[in-house]
């Protein structure tokens, strides 16, 4: 009873007091409760895919948004997870539960390799160099079709579990756990170090931070998450192929990240949950079927013109105010800060400088 009450107090003082956190809680509860009320296989399938892509997008944000290493080849890790898992399952007959984690490990190793290779690069050089890695991988896949399945890839992979609803829960729970852990990680001392590296690497080094180690570590973590998402997607869709490594996918994750708002973790997740169904929904109309990417481009351009820092930070600035004294957030309709009771001026909305300049 005591613990329950403590939990309730924590919930009220830490989560419900901030509209953005309350929204996130409501969203998670709706996701978890949805199959109880609504079991349309198509909708659940779209939501499952969205959850997997949300993991992918959030992992990109940890790398690009927090540590400033704007990776243009994030699909490499996604594809590595998918291919490693598929190869181990089909060639060695290992159970998919194991191979998904093996794929994650392979992706993490690749992350260490790419991170180590890119240590001396910064800014645009790093972005453009990382663009090359998945393309090198695609070239190798096409050159050795016997091993890699060539242009068609592999099909007929076994599912992790059978049934629409269990697969949905697998994706949702994995997504919630991973995104929440990434958010905690980004909010910890580790995340603070990443902020420091992005804003001024020389100063971070001068303060005694082993920046190369942190950069390789963040590459490995982001790669592992992307690889897990890739492996799960391969076993859910039961196919893998060069589409998991394509430049289009790498650009897609960049668009999700920047559209949602970089250096937030939840921003890219929001972007996936908005952009993916929108494009999917347009695809359902006969008239729009062929034109959904067109609309996708138009939506991204229009949103950016009005919210250049991304959707999630824009919304958060509307519903919450930053306390000028203690830098804590309070709901926008409060007249005093919830921590230090300093007066909040509703018109004078401080604009934090947008993080994540490439």
């Amino acid at each position: 009873m005591y613990r329950l009450r403590r939990l309730w107090v924590q919930l009220r003082t830490e989560v419900l007091v901030l509209p953005s956190r309350a929204l996130v809680l409501a969203w998670a509860l709706v996701l978890l409760a949805l199959p109880l009320a609504y079991t349309d296989a198509y909708v659940l399938r779209i939501l499952t895919l969205m959850c997997l892509f949300a993991i992918f997008a959030a992992s990109w944000d940890l790398l690009a948004g927090y540590s400033g290493q704007v990776n243009f080849g994030h699909a490499l890790f996604f594809g590595a997870g998918a291919y490693a898992s598929a190869l181990l399952t089909l060639k060695l007959g290992m159970p998919p539960w194991l191979t998904v984690f093996a794929g994650t490990a392979v992706a993490a190793l690749l992350g260490v390799a790419v991170g180590a290779l890119c240590l001396r690069l910064r800014g645009s050089y790093l972005s453009l160099a990382t663009l090359a890695f998945p393309l090198i991988a695609i070239g190798l896949l096409f050159a050795f079709p016997d091993f890699s399945g060539g242009e068609l890839g592999f099909s007929g992979l076994p599912r992790l579990i059978n049934g629409v609803v269990p697969n949905y829960y697998l994706a949702v729970v994995t997504m919630l756990v991973l995104v929440f852990s990434l958010w905690l990680l980004a909010d910890s001392k580790f995340g603070l170090v990443l902020h420091a590296i992005r804003d001024d690497e020389v100063a971070a080094r001068a303060s005694g931070i082993n920046t190369p180690r942190y950069k390789v570590m963040v590459f490995a973590i982001a790669a592992a998450c992307a690889g897990l998402a890739g492996g799960l997607l391969a076993h859910y869709m039961r196919v893998t192929g060069p589409f998991t490594l394509e430049t289009a996918l790498s650009f897609q994750v960049v668009i999700w990240g920047i559209f949602g708002g970089v250096a937030t973790i939840y921003g890219p997740v929001v972007a996936v949950f908005i952009l993916y169904p929108v494009t999917e929904w347009f695809g359902g109309f006969q008239a729009f079927g062929e034109r959904r990417l067109l609309l996708f481009g138009v939506i991204v351009l229009l949103v950016l013109l009005y919210m250049p820092r991304g959707l999630a930070p824009w919304v958060r600035d509307r519903i919450e105010t930053l306390c000028p004294r203690c830098k804590q957030r309070s709901a926008a309709w409060k007249s005093h800060c919830r921590h230090c009771s300093a007066a909040l001026a509703p018109t004078d909305r401080p604009r934090a400088s947008g993080p994540g300049q490439a």
Binding site: V70, L117, R120, L121, R122, G123, S124, Y125, S127, L128, A129, L131, A132, F133, L135, I136, I138, G139, L140, F142, A143, D200, V202, T247, A248, F251, V254, I255, I258, F259, V262, E290, R291, L293, L294, F296, G297, V298, V300, L301, L304, L305, P308, R309, G354, G356, Q357, A358
Partner: protein, 289 residues
Amino acid sequence: MIQDILVSGLISSSVYALLAIGFSLIFGVARIVNIAHTAFYMLGAYLFYSLLVQLGINFAIAGLLAVAGVTALSLACYKLIIEPLREHESAVLISTIALAILFQELMLLFYGGHYLGIPSTMDGAVSIAGVSIAYQRFVILVVAFVMLAATWYLLNHTRLGLAIRATANDLEVANLMGMNVHHVALATVAFSAALAAIAGVVVAPVFVVDPYMWLGPLVTMLAIVVLGGLGSVKGSVIGAFIIGFVEAITVFAVPSGAFLKGAVALSIMVAVLLLRPQGLYGVVFEEER
């Protein structure tokens, strides 16, 4: 085989050089990583196709009109979309990606996804030192080298070129010296889009035209620009010739080389970057801190 390597290497290198110079100039002057750059190359090819095949205009006039149209479009894009976002570097980046996707989808809508062939505008071949090159391919070489020379002249012997180089070197000081950096940026955008469109127009009769033709050159162009050093025109040209010839050698001398040409070219770029992170002729930008 050596003849094949020489000819196709020269042709692809000169096309890449046209693309890479434009990208480099925009990056140097406006600090924009313009993913939509090769989309202008695609638009040039499509516009040329429309004017030449659908409207039946003479090929020289059609080419000029196509280049002019794409240049005007690039200026409109810059004014309407890029300039309002200039403060937000990441937003500029994805708006160029979105623009490229937009153009791809528009072409898909208007022309369909199939390959369009443009009939050869001239027949016959020229023979140089025993190597025969079809006129159509020879035109690519001539136009590319004329444009390279024109770029060199523009940058080194005109007041606009001086302004472009000064702005690329240090935007704030150039502004303080009385140069209108906005106009310089506009001129640079127009000039580089025109270079991309010219490349599109000259290759259209030789290569096929399809809505995805911007992706392959985009990656190669980025590799070239990074290899040569971002913002360096000399580096872009030299990088274009290195990558162009490496691709040609891979295609003709290595089994299943057509699949590997991109991988080999990109590996060279990665290798150079590991030894020289600023590329071959990288301009050392003042630390943006």
